[in-house]
Amino acid sequence: MSTVQRNMSLTGEPPKTINTQQKLASAIGLIGLALLFLALFNLNFPNKTLWLSTSLGMIAVGIIWFSIAAYQNKHEGIKNDGVYFKSLSSRGFWAWVLGITVTLFYVVLYWFPQYLGLVKDGDNKAIVALFDPLSKLLNGGPASQWFVYGTLYTLAILAFGIKFILKYRHNKYEKLRTFSVMFFQLGFAFLIPELMQRLNSDSFKLPYYDLKNIWPLNYYNFEQYRVDEFISAGDIGLGLLIFGVVSIFVITPILTYKYGKRWYCSWVCGCGGLAETAGDPFRHLSDKRQVAWKVERWVIHSVLVFVVLMTTAVVHSYLGDDSSKYWLTKDVFLICVATLLTLVFTGVWIFKREELQKDARIGSIAYLVIILSLVGLHFATGKTLFLFNAETLRQSYGFLIGAVFSGVIGVGFYPIFGSRVWCRFGCPMAAILGFQQRLFSRFRITTNGGQCISCGNCSTYCEMGIDVRAYAQKGENIVRSSCVGCGICSAVCPRGVLKLENGPLEKRIDSNEILLGNDVDLMNYVNK
């Protein structure tokens, strides 16, 4: 097959060029980006406010104009022409250039912020200094590398969000979903934390953060310094701390039951927001092979176990021993964690055992045994919890998962591995939501009788690498942990076969050997 593939792209010279307006728009956007680069090399702009506005404005205008020029003269409908002919969207030269550039940016951002101009004690330089005016406007203080990152990230979601809306302007589900991620990014992830920071003074310190960033995605939410800050900030702080706990244990399960994990992953989440907007041109690059699915299941659940262990160890490390001072002691906490995990495990094992595949059964037993024996070992020997130092665990998680996986690989490799690598293989939040979505949620993708023609558009454009076609051609509903409910499979289906729906749990997954449309007797005989 591969030889044919090569022939096709060599003999053919399909149109992949962009029109004049798009070229001009690209130039404007790139000049805006170049201004940031100049700042990087410490070119001292006289009027930072003006230059920053010009730069960000040009980037935004460039992207939006490019999108208008790309779609304005086209009919409403699917716009995937030439996706596999364009270098940028088919792992060609420009894809690698972009991937390497973004990866380098992340490396500098995480580990060498001084090259961006961050100065710990004193005035910022270079690019960070360029953002100082905006930072001062919003939070009252100078910028940090994270402020620069947050601003660019938000700009990307907003500008590419407009592009996505134009691209899918015939599809109201896609439009609403994109408005939603744009809103949550701008409001919750960007503006609110900056404004919260303003409330802080020498006498009052409240953690300012993205409120929708829920543990375990926000893996540091329950660390000592934060919990201390929450508690010392009085009622508001306590409220936020309780909100953090309620988010994962109450709000999330209810919404996921009703709507599936999409309410978070493709409507609210910032990682998802970037993937759905700036990452959209790369969605088809996700690996659809069954082996990738196997790897996915082991890796993502291992990350989940890692984050649970790490958080338990960290919280355990700062709790006290004396129950007369505070009811939640080290021991009570550990017993709570062990009980919760055992309850979840037992519940699933009793009620949903039939739905677990062999490797899921092995994996869940193995992980439960590991966690419980670590806890048991701790009580029996009184040694350091989990054999590791809590701080070491925290640091390794932060480095490996928080930085390398979610940032460098997750975003840097968009043009190579597709836009949802982090969400699919790494995100522990997605693992929890997915676990519930698979076993206890009203959400499913329904297939329309016998109408599937196995064309493969759904699988190709699934950013999570789900082989949607494998289900659709069997007339089976798609109920997969990893599905983020982006709705693109349904949009690109040329025969109207797929629909995202919330419905009753009964008959949620129905597979048919014989599809609708054939002999009624034959269907009754075979499908039973």
Partner: protein, 433 residues
């Protein structure tokens, strides 16, 4: 172990093979001269359009065949010797079978026009056709204009493909509106204007007279029956398909236009069966044509035959008719029977509704004497197969269908609903035939 040999690795043959494997341990060999692996024929267009790569239109990964012990052989069957139960390959060699399933599908149907042998004249049925189109029409410099002869489902696909490379397309359609031999007039007209809006030079009431070549044997132009000469580099022949059965001409298997089969899909020779596009029912089933060249019917025949082969005889007894297609941006689904003007049954009455956008329309067909719902065509609004299948089985009245139309809606969440508009239009119509 019984050896089942299947000629053809399309949807019919592969469905039969998969089901035989599920039901039994028989040895199964699938022979194809076209490709190594099964692919979705209906998705050929997306490869040329750059939506997918070749391997994306293959529904199963390459390990699937080995895992399920389905042996694949790439060869062209030249003769079928039913006396000795042996197939002979063009490449040399042979294979014997205990039971033979012929599922060779279709090939492009032509009408003996002058110039068919020229380079650049092609259909769009096989993988080779796709490769030819890539060669003949790589871009609009090498191929500024193409002419498509025939306005059906393959024709509109080909037009859409060529337009993605900004190649000018002229389409010669015999009827006065697009696919009007199958679609009711208002629908055909809507599709015509949509096709035109995509920059296609659509000629109604136009037919091909002959194809002209240059001295190198390449297409230079075509001439219409009106005598107009249209220069072009590619001529797409999309005037339907016909069963691909030429390799059977010296065999004892009885054929007409296709391979003649009874309801059990058996040919005149014992242990030889035919399914899919290449099969022709001796007696047509209901309103269905004797040869059904449709993805879904190929699959259904494969499902039924697998049972028969594995010892539980089932006739091919399809349920309610259904089909689907996409005309550029407009999706089409049909359930039950809705006939075009020329084929309208004398008992049939139709209700038409068209959206102001001219991108959506619905035709509902009923028996004018009993008011029984007979079928629906829906354009631009997705509807549920299951619901219409049920209503057809329950012989619901057309009023019931209109009243409950919302139940059948399958559009994505938050899409605008048109049921009210349709119901109002239905209530206000003066019943016409």
């Amino acid at each position: 172990m019984e050896h089942i040999v299947i000629i053809g690795n399309g949807i019919a043959g592969i469905t039969a093979a998969r089901h035989i494997r599920k039901l039994s341990d028989k040895k199964v060999t699938i022979i194809s001269a076209e490709t190594d692996h099964f692919f979705s024929r209906t998705a050929l267009m997306y490869v040329y359009m750059g939506h997918m790569r070749w391997r994306d239109i293959e529904p199963y990964e390459s390990w699937f065949w080995k895992k399920n012990r389905l042996e694949l052989k790439k060869a062209y069957v030249e003769t079928v010797d039913t006396n000795n139960k042996t197939l002979h390959f063009k490449e040399g060699g042979s294979i014997t079978y205990d039971k033979l399933i012929i599922a060779t599908g279709s090939t492009t149907n032509t009408f003996g026009w002058e110039g068919l042998e020229l380079n650049g004249v092609q259909g769009l049925v096989s993988k080779q056709d796709l490769e030819n189109l890539e060669k003949n029409a790589p871009n609009n410099k090498e191929c500024p204009r193409a002419v498509i002869v025939g306005g059906g489902l393959i024709g509109v696909e080909m037009a859409e493909m060529l337009r993605t490379r900004k190649i000018e397309v002229t389409m010669l359609v015999r009827e006065s509106a697009f696919w009007a031999g199958t679609l009711p007039k208002p629908e055909a007209e809507m599709i015509s204007s949509h096709v035109i809006s995509h920059g296609v030079d659509l000629r109604h009431n136009a037919e091909l007279d002959k194809i002209l070549g240059d001295d190198k044997g390449n297409v230079r132009a075509i001439v219409t029956k009106d005598g107009e000469e249209i220069p072009c580099c590619v001529v797409g022949i999309t005037t339907g398909v016909k069963p691909q059965i030429s390799f059977l001409k010296n065999s004892k298997i009885e054929t007409d236009k296709g391979i003649l089969v009874n309801r059990k899909l058996e040919t005149n020779i014992e242990n030889v069966y035919a399914i899919g596009d290449c099969a022709q029912q001796r007696e047509p089933i209901g309103n269905r044509p004797p040869i059904e060249a449709v993805w879904y019917t190929g699959r259904m025949m494969g499902e039924a035959l697998a049972q028969t082969i594995c010892g539980k005889p089932f006739e091919y007894n399809p349920g309610n008719w259904f089909n689907s297609a996409k005309f550029f941006d407009i999706e089409y689904q049909t359930y039950g029977w809705v006939f075009s003007e020329s084929k309208l049954k004398d008992y049939e009455a139709q209700f038409h509704w068209k959206c102001a956008s001219d991108l959506r329309c619905v035709t509902i067909s009923c028996n004018k004497n009993s008011n029984e719902f007979l079928g629906i065509n829906t354009f631009g609004i997705r509807m549920k197969h299951e619901v219409f299948d049920k209503w057809l089985n329950e012989k619901r009245s057309v009023d019931y269908v209109i009243e409950n139309l919302k139940q059948a809606n399958f559009d994505p969440e938050f899409f605008k609903n048109y049921e009210k508009e349709i119901q109002t239009a239905y209530a206000n119509q003066t019943i016409s035939v």
